[in-house]
């Protein structure tokens, strides 16, 4: 081939611009981050190598424990809340169980377009003493003093955040499942009905298994997304009060950019990545086992 070299040159001219930007901004810093995580550094001045001390510190750091717990709660609400609920909504729309299914779909999908930080501010207003919820409760119960106290509870402060996550992202899974439901031939459902299968049986025994691979891919997205949570929590509570609603990314941000502990911050960010990779591998292993049985 005479023109292999020209061809190779053209090939690289198409691939490399994207690849270089991607590597330079996403992959190269990751290596740098790993290096920083073994040091004690204030962002300026001397950088001291301290080995694994940052990682060891995490084990006994109560704030890190709360943050990790809250991240796990987000994983749970995503995988066991948003995804099943999204599937159920999609199935109901697909089977046209309501009139105006298209309009319902359009309304329910709307929050996906609004920035999380603004969604958080919106719900803060809804929950505030002069917001929708406390006002309605006051009118229904006649208790003129009612305000929401849940934000001050160590155990339950995270619940409103989980609710807002459910509110914003369930429809994303609904839309994904809906697109996939439309690829199941009607004859499959018809055959099941002929054999006398009820709606519940069709949903659980026929539709859900067909969509299991889709649910799996979505779980990966949901889990890795869960460990990334920052915007919504930062805007809604800032991690407070007293770290009750902290999540790992937010703790990393505060540690690094507010308290200038770059080494410890980097170690937390590496742990975030490790959790994402571990969660994805675990999901993969479980699904493999599940498919074999």
């Amino acid at each position: 081939m005479v023109n292999t070299l020209t061809k190779k040159r053209s090939y690289l001219s198409f691939v490399l611009p994207a690849f270089v930007i991607y590597m330079g901004i996403m992959v190269f810093p990751l290596v740098f981050s790993l290096g920083l995580s073994f040091t004690k550094w204030k962002g300026y001045g001397p950088m001291v190598f301290i080995g694994l001390q940052n990682y060891v510190k995490m084990f006994s750091d109560p704030v890190f424990h709360i943050a990790l717990r809250n991240n796990i709660l987000i994983v749970l609400i995503s995988v066991f809340g948003q995804i099943p609920l999204g599937l159920l909504l999609a199935y109901m729309l697909h089977r046209q169980m309501v009139k105006g299914a298209k309009q319902f779909e359009m309304l329910i999908f709307l929050p996906i377009t609004i920035s999380s930080v603004i969604v958080a501010q919106l719900w803060n207003r809804v929950f505030s003493p002069i917001g929708i919820l406390p006002t309605i409760v006051r009118q229904l119960t006649g208790n003129g003093e009612y305000v929401m106290k849940v934000f001050e509870s160590k155990t339950y402060a995270f619940v409103p955040i989980m609710f807002v996550l459910l509110w914003q992202y369930t429809s994303l899974y609904m839309v994904i499942f809906l697109a996939n439901l439309q690829r199941i031939p009607n004859s499959v459902l018809e055959a099941a009905q002929m054999e006398g299968a009820g709606e519940g049986t069709i949903f659980l025994r026929i539709v859900a298994p067909i969509l299991a691979p889709v649910a799996f891919v979505n779980s990966i997205l949901a889990i890795s997304g869960s460990f990334k949570s920052f915007d919504l929590v930062y805007s809604m509570t800032g991690g407070g009060p007293a770290h009750y609603t902290d999540v790992m990314a937010l703790y990393m941000y505060n540690t690094t950019f507010v308290f200038q502990n770059y080494g410890y911050g980097s170690a937390i960010s590496i742990v975030i990545i490790l959790f994402i990779v571990a969660a994805i591998m675990l999901t993969r292993a479980v699904t493999k086992k599940f498919n074999q049985d």
């Binding site: 901004i25 920083l36 962002g43 169980m97 329910i108 609004i114 603004i118 929708i132 941000y253």
Partner: protein, 282 residues
């Protein structure tokens, strides 16, 4: 409707529950937005005294004040610049890469594809610290390019994979015949691949636009000047500062939400398609 006529309707119990769930979801979605909308037209005293009531004499006073006090005009302009530049760059970089990876017979394509796939797992927060240090040293902090570059980079992996699955489906014969006619690859890309990829360009552009418009973290970390803030950052900080001026908070939030509702009304079909197809890959 015809094709599903042989399918029996769902039983009453299911339909009744479906109505309850759908209506509940729809009300939860729409009511807070409507409430925010009409409350933003009320003066502060009215908001505090009658939180749920409609405005007695609607006024845009809160809007004009929030707009000037929050510097939202400049933020809107920044958001448009960041989003448009990043979206156009992402789309064409990704499409170019996809063309190279799908239509050239080199072994390294498998490696590049794998590398982009790994990128789906990386998060902003894992690299933000070194990226911040790099930007400080490169003098990119508090510059537009320092914001736009990471916007592009973090959107590339998913965009490349979306483009790749489309470009693979373009028949090789079309490209081969252009090669025989002596066309350069650059010409083939712009005059064949780009027009043929119009549907996937639309999908990528809309998803990319949404992602960049709502981006918060990079502007938040990499800029300190008010003149460089994007709309989500400016509004969050402004609304957070107005402790007692509820009308200003509400108005600024509506300014943040309204453009996206308009965007949604126009591109709803493509958004549904884009997100729906996103998971069809595997």
């Amino acid at each position: 409707m015809n094709e599903r006529s042989r399918l029996r309707k769902a039983p009453l119990g299911w339909r009744a529950s479906a109505y309850i769930i759908m209506v509940a979801f729809a009300v939860l979605t729409i009511f807070p937005l409507i409430w925010l909308g009409y409350s933003s037209l009320k003066p502060n005293a009215e908001i505090v005294k009658y939180p749920l009531a409609l405005p007695r004499s609607p006024s845009f006073d809160n809007y004009t004040r929030a707009w000037t006090m929050g510097g939202l005009g400049i933020s809107l302009q920044n958001s448009l610049i960041y989003t448009c530049v990043a979206t156009v760059s992402t789309v064409f970089l990704a499409l170019g890469a996809a063309f190279g990876l799908a239509k050239f017979p080199f072994k390294s394509a498998a490696f590049f594809t794998w590398a982009f796939t790994v990128g789906l797992m990386l998060t902003v927060h894992a690299v933000i610290i070194p990226l911040f240090i790099l930007e400080v040293h490169a003098g990119l902090i508090n510059t537009r390019i320092g914001v736009i570059l990471p916007y592009i980079a973090f959107d590339l992996p998913i965009s490349v994979l979306i483009a790749l699955s489309f470009v693979k489906g373009i028949p090789d014969a079309i490209i081969e015949s252009a090669e025989i006619d002596g066309a350069k690859y650059r010409q083939i890309f712009w005059s064949l691949i780009v027009p043929l990829s119009a549907p996937v360009i639309a999908t990528m552009a809309i998803l990319s636009f949404l992602q960049h418009w709502n981006e918060f973290f990079f502007v938040f970390i990499f800029t300190t000047k008010a003149a460089l803030k994007s709309l989500p950052v400016a509004i969050t900080q402004f609304a957070g500062r107005q402790n007692i001026e509820y009308g200003l908070q509400y108005a600024s939030l509506v300014i943040g939400i309204l453009p996206m509702i308009v965007f949604y009304v126009f591109f709803h079909a493509q958004l549904t398609k884009g997100f729906g197809e996103g998971a069809l890959k595997e």
